[in-house]
């Protein structure tokens, strides 16, 4: 067992978990944050994407011991306000089953933090590690584009 100390969605958490436990398992089984999904366990599908120190990371292949500051889908909305990326996904109905959506939203959020006005090619490249078996890719690209526009406008307004 290893003693683990993390900050998840702004709140400190500590606990004992077996060595090499993945961040995904800690989130889902210890913190009971089930919004981060298991899809493949080998970093192929992006369903488990969270932000670690601001970077989009695959929680299923990240040992929990390597994470410090984690933001999950549950921590993205603030003060009851959805993040612009979340709003854009609803507006574009950029999902079908919705299982990949939390990971997609986190991946897109990380992209827009780094590249506020991405081209479609930037979006495709950034999200290429995310699978959507329902095939909603064109809507997701549109949603990320729309979120980028909204965020740029909101920044200008200050």
């Amino acid at each position: 067992m290893a003693k683990l100390t993390l900050t998840v969605n702004g709140r400190p958490w500590s606990g004992d978990v077996p060595e090499e436990t993945s961040l995904l398992e800690v989130l889902r089984e210890h913190l009971m944050l089930s919004g981060t999904k298991y899809g493949c366990g080998e970093g192929q599908c992006g369903s488990c994407t969270v932000l670690i120190d601001g970077r989009a990371s695959r929680a299923c292949v990240t040992p929990a011991s390597r994470a410090r500051e984690v933001v999950t889908i549950e921590g993205l909305a603030s003060d009851g306000q959805l993040h612009p990326v979340q709003r854009a996904f609803i507006e574009a109905q950029a999902f079908q089953c919705g299982f990949c959506t939390p990971g997609m939203v986190m991946g897109a959020t990380a992209l827009l933090a780094r590249t506020p006005s991405p081209t479609d090619a930037d979006i495709r490249t950034a999200l290429d590690g995310h699978l959507c078996r329902c095939g909603t890719y064109p809507r997701i690209i549109a949603a990320v584009r729309a979120a980028s526009t909204t965020m740029t406008r909101e920044r200008r307004r200050g």
């Binding site: 398992e25 493949c40 609803i90 089953c97 495709r124 095939g135 890719y137 064109p138």
Partner: protein, 665 residues
């Protein structure tokens, strides 16, 4: 479970159902104790039990008016992402005469919901929606004293509108609870000790290394061997320490499958009332072929492929007091109830299935393998047990879309019109057999065959293989006769709506105006499947052995678009999903085992693959709505194969199309 029971269950919902009459069987408020208990489970109010009669069948509908005046409606249909939750909510709301916000849909709980069939074959729209509308209108009439007539399409306020997915907020916030998210107090996590083989019997096992670990238990029921523990990581690590000896069943090499299918083929007989009639005959195909000016024969092949829903199967079973409740995500909760009851040898009344919206199904979650495993283990453990398949289990313990061989032989007259078509599908299925073309002499049939690997439902099932074969064959004829592929198709299409769809698609695409050759190619496909009229034009760029899809233009006429935006989402997604089976997907086996075991070894469509897309609908408000979850997937493979031919002059008759190196010239 025996396949004949599945077949019998499915047959109950075969055929088109036009609601003829209804009866409000009962209105539950102050009734017998067990009914009161039932109502108490529902939270009180007034419960309408309605039976809708359609073609000698009685279909049950339940609607509850709760104490706060909102409605709860119940259905055994499931939502795996195809939008049935929102659509059926719309159907109830439209005829109850209330906004969608006033209706909550309870799906997939076999205790609360009526058995209105499984979620398959795109029948929710054409079959369930009319039944629900009829019953909801009856409830409205009973409540208001007004008419029980259906709302005319022109007067729709909810149907026909692009109502957003009713779970949108939960989806984007991570709050939506999928089957794999469910936890029960005191629950144990199971990790199964699987044989590496496709089928095998457990001979012996050694769990000595595990039994000393505190909190870990080894459970065995026949060939089911599992370790359970309070957390999944402990269970998984312990399971990896168990050694087991298995006797595998041998598998023939995959290159022998075509011969095997033919050797075991059972000739079809006509069953005109079946959902998928296995034999369609018209005219005299022998005479037609004999009298043809030119003949052409081709053989097509589709390999087994995997569904790969993003959410691998998961179930939690709670066995107590000789009864079991299983939480899962099957597409067919009432069938799963049968399966669990049979596996545990208990009456169905002692099994309750509570299925929730799952993370994709595509036909892969019609059976209850995972639910049965959880139920068996819960009984052994004496505690709730969760079985959550890993991705490897999802790939290898499920079933694949059947491989299929299609032999096509046809003839044209001196004017280049198809006069005879013999079309024989081996093993993959009878779905989508009916040609969309008018050919005077036809023999179109599906030979059942024996496959050694597990195979089962898949989005549109054999309609992909059948349309790949038929449309590729049409393309071969167009090339042989040096006629434009669109013109050649139109020559044989009598359905006015399909003609319009093909013409509009070709026009928007700029068919005939797009340069081809030198690595660029265009292709078209169309289909009249499950009452939908569909066409797709594609442009590809071929580089070496690879193909990039440049753009796609598609049109769908599904009759009335009950939720146009959701329909477009389905159609677009199905075409994109079809790229996987067309270009890359195949599941491989060796002499005992499936060798395709990881997502990293199974190429699926990704962001980088998605072309520019223009997908449009023709919305015919006054025409009965067709289901849309499946049929568009049948367009992709033949259009891409035609485009590859257009670009390279090489005809590829088996899927997947890539890599291109072994394509026949």
């Amino acid at each position: 479970m025996a396949d004949d029971r599945r077949t019998a269950y499915k047959r109950r919902f075969d055929g088109d159902l036009e609601p003829e009459s209804y009866e409000i069987v009962d209105i539950l408020d102050t009734l017998t104790p067990d009914r009161r208990a039932f109502l108490a489970t529902l939270g009180g109010g007034l419960l309408f039990l309605v039976t809708v009669r359609a073609q000698d069948r009685d279909l049950p509908v339940r609607v509850q008016v709760t104490d706060d005046g909102t409605y709860r409606a119940f259905t055994g249909k499931m939502d795996m992402g195809q939008g049935s939750r929102t659509l059926l909510t719309q159907a109830f709301a439209e005829e109850l005469g209330v906004p969608v916000e006033r209706v909550t849909l309870v799906m997939g709980d076999t205790r609360l919901c009526p058995d209105d069939g499984g979620t398959w074959a795109s029948i929710t729209t054409p079959q369930t929606v009319p039944v629900i509308r009829k019953a909801a209108a009856a409830v409205r009439a009973a409540r208001t004293g007004g008419t029980d007539a259906l709302t005319a399409p022109a007067a729709w306020t909810t149907l026909g509108r692009s109502i957003p997915n009713t779970t949108s907020l939960a989806i984007v916030t991570g709050a939506k609870t999928y089957p794999s998210d469910l936890r029960l107090p005191g629950m144990l996590h199971a990790s199964l000790v699987r044989s590496p083989h496709h089928r095998a019997q457990l001979v012996a096992y050694d769990a000595a290394a595990v039994e000393r670990i505190p909190g870990v238990r080894v459970l065995r029921d026949a060939d089911l061997l599992a370790v359970v523990a309070a957390d999944p990581g402990t269970a998984r690590r312990a399971a990896s320490l168990v050694t087991a000896t298995w006797t595998p069943a041998p598998l023939r090499p995959q290159n022998e499958w075509p011969a095997r299918f033919k050797a075991t083929a059972v000739a079809p007989v006509e069953q005109p009332t079946a959902r998928y009639p296995p034999l369609l005959r018209r005219g005299d195909v022998e005479a037609g072929l004999a009298g043809a000016a030119r003949r052409l024969s081709s053989t097509y092949w589709v390999p087994p492929i995997a569904h790969v829903p993003m959410e691998p199967r998961a179930a939690v079973a709670d066995w107590r007091d000789d009864a079991v409740t299983v939480y899962g995500g099957s597409q067919a909760p009432f069938l799963v109830r049968q399966e669990v009851a049979q596996a545990l040898q208990v009456p169905e009344a002692r099994v309750r299935i509570i299925a929730s919206d799952s993370g994709g199904g595509f036909g892969g979650k019609q059976r209850g393998e995972c639910e049965v495993e959880a139920a068996r283990l819960s009984r052994l453990a004496g505690a709730p047990v969760r079985v959550a398949w890993t991705r490897e289990e999802e790939l290898t313990c499920s079933y694949t879309r059947p491989a299929g061989l299609v032999d096509v032989e046809s003839g044209v007259d001196a004017d280049g019109r198809l006069t005879a078509l013999r079309f024989a599908n081996y093993n993959s299925g009878a779905a989508g057999l009916a040609p969309q073309y008018d050919v005077p002499h036809q023999w179109v049939g599906h030979y059942r065959a024996t496959a050694e690997v597990r195979q089962g439902s898949y989005r549109s099932l054999a309609a992909v293989a059948n349309n790949f074969a038929l449309e590729s064959h049409m393309d071969e004829w167009a090339a042989a006769l040096q006629i434009d592929p669109v013109a050649f198709r139109l020559r044989h299409i009598t359905d006015a709506r399909l003609r319009q769809v093909v013409e509009q698609t070709a026009a928007r695409f700029g068919w005939g105006a797009t340069p081809v050759g030198q690595g660029r190619g265009v292709g078209i496909s169309c289909n009249l499947e499950k009452d939908a009229r569909l066409a797709l034009c594609v442009e590809v760029a071929v580089r070496g052995t690879d193909v990039r899809v440049v753009r796609m233009v598609a049109t769908g006429d599904f009759g009335a678009a009950l939720n146009p935006d959701a329909l477009l989402n389905q159609m677009t997604g199905a075409i994109i999903q079809g790229m996987g089976g067309a270009l890359w997907e195949h599941v491989d086996f060796d002499t005992t085992a499936q060798t395709t075991r990881r997502l990293s070894r199974y190429r699926l469509p990704r962001f980088r693959d998605v072309p520019a897309m223009d997908v449009q609908l023709i919305d015919r408000r006054d025409v009965d709505a067709a289901g849309a979850g499946e049929s568009p997937i049948t367009l992709t493979a033949p259009a891409l194969a035609a485009a590859v031919f257009s670009a390279t002059g090489r005809r590829r008759r088996s899927l997947p199309l890539l890599p291109l190196r072994d394509a026949a010239p």
